[in-house]
């Protein structure tokens, strides 16, 4: 089979292969299965076309609502339209979980950013060096404490 170098973005073969093999290992109780190379290519290609199909449908829906940006609701509606409604519930759960995790991450990250900014300010004013070092440190400590209690 000739090797084709293409401009088309493809899904990572290794990941697709892994997904297929994991599923087959569930389907085949004694792990007695094999996948032909051509079949792996077919999976990868089919998945890519699926993305196009879903994307185009969602995009249509988005445009009908006179919006510029395709959002998650467009995608859910698209799934219904292309008759993949079985996907909707698992995807909604997935998205909810992602949003939750993201919110948690943001909360933690925000605090870190604040602390980092404070340290920067302290460092730069220390370089200017108008106060004695000791006094500065005391003042800074106070400031920090005040901030943290907010």
């Amino acid at each position: 089979m000739e090797k084709v170098v293409s401009e088309t973005e493809e899904l990572p073969k290794a990941i697709v292969r892994r997904v297929v093999k994991e599923k087959l290992s569930q389907c085949s109780p004694d792990y007695d299965f094999n996948v032909h190379k051509d079949a792996h290519l077919a999976f990868t290609e089919s998945a890519r076309i699926f993305i196009h199909y879903l994307s185009a449908t969602a995009n249509d829906i988005c445009k009908e609502s006179r919006r510029q940006t395709m959002n998650t609701e467009d995608v859910f509606q698209a799934l219904e339209e292309i008759e993949f409604s079985d996907f909707v519930k698992p995807l909604r759960d997935s998205l909810a979980e992602f949003r939750k995790k993201n919110a948690e991450k943001k909360g933690g990250a925000a605090k870190e950013n604040e602390a980092r900014k404070k340290r920067k300010i302290e460092d730069s004013s220390a370089k200017n060096g108008t106060k004695t070092k000791q006094k500065k440190q005391d003042n800074d400590q106070e400031e920090e404490d005040n901030h943290e209690s907010e």
Binding site: S6, E7, A47, L54, S55, T69, E97
Partner: protein
Amino acid sequence: MDSNKQAQSSSYPPQPPTSSITPPPASAAIAATPPAPFHHLLQQQQQQLQMFWSYQRQEIEQVNDFKNHQLPLARIKKIMKADEDVRMISAEAPILFAKACELFILELTIRSWLHAEENKRRTLQKNDIAAAITRTDIFDFLVDIVPRDEIKDEAGLGGMVGATASGVPYFYPPMGHPAGGPAGPGGMMIGRPAIDPTGGMYAQPPSQAWQSVWQTAGADDGSYASGGSGGQGNLDGQG
């Protein structure tokens, strides 16, 4: 029996149907029609599909590590943007696509495997996938991506990968479309030569935007198997 319970443990691998399993109503209707030998296979298929979905829901509820996305979001975004019609995408959309893609691959795998099993094979082949696509209505959009073996591939095309290298599914070219259809003869026409090209296949794409994917992709390079930076080299590094 284990297979009746929700997949809480390794009982997911569907057990062969036994008389103690009550088939869902749908398959009872189906069971009436097909010849006897396939009855148990369809029943099995129903069960497997049901268990597959309940397992999926469970999996999502239990394990949701978004650091290791199965499919790279950037890549997915690029694929989406190959369609010029698609402009702006919200940050969360690729995440949905990644998961949807995974579910899609899983479903295609199961159905293809069933076909392999019917033919008493342990190796999943491309024509198993083709069969699954033919059997499943919602996979109609793939019908020319994975052709069945009865229809011989044109010599030297090396299967559908070559033909879709430029991202233009070859079911458009016969329409003499400016979609930069193959510069060469309709030799790229791997799908269903028997079908009237103008009338059939994707004469009615699901949506207008869908059609434009092929147009723009084709217009870009005007030929198949276009050269360019090889995506191939990177792929296996992923995941």
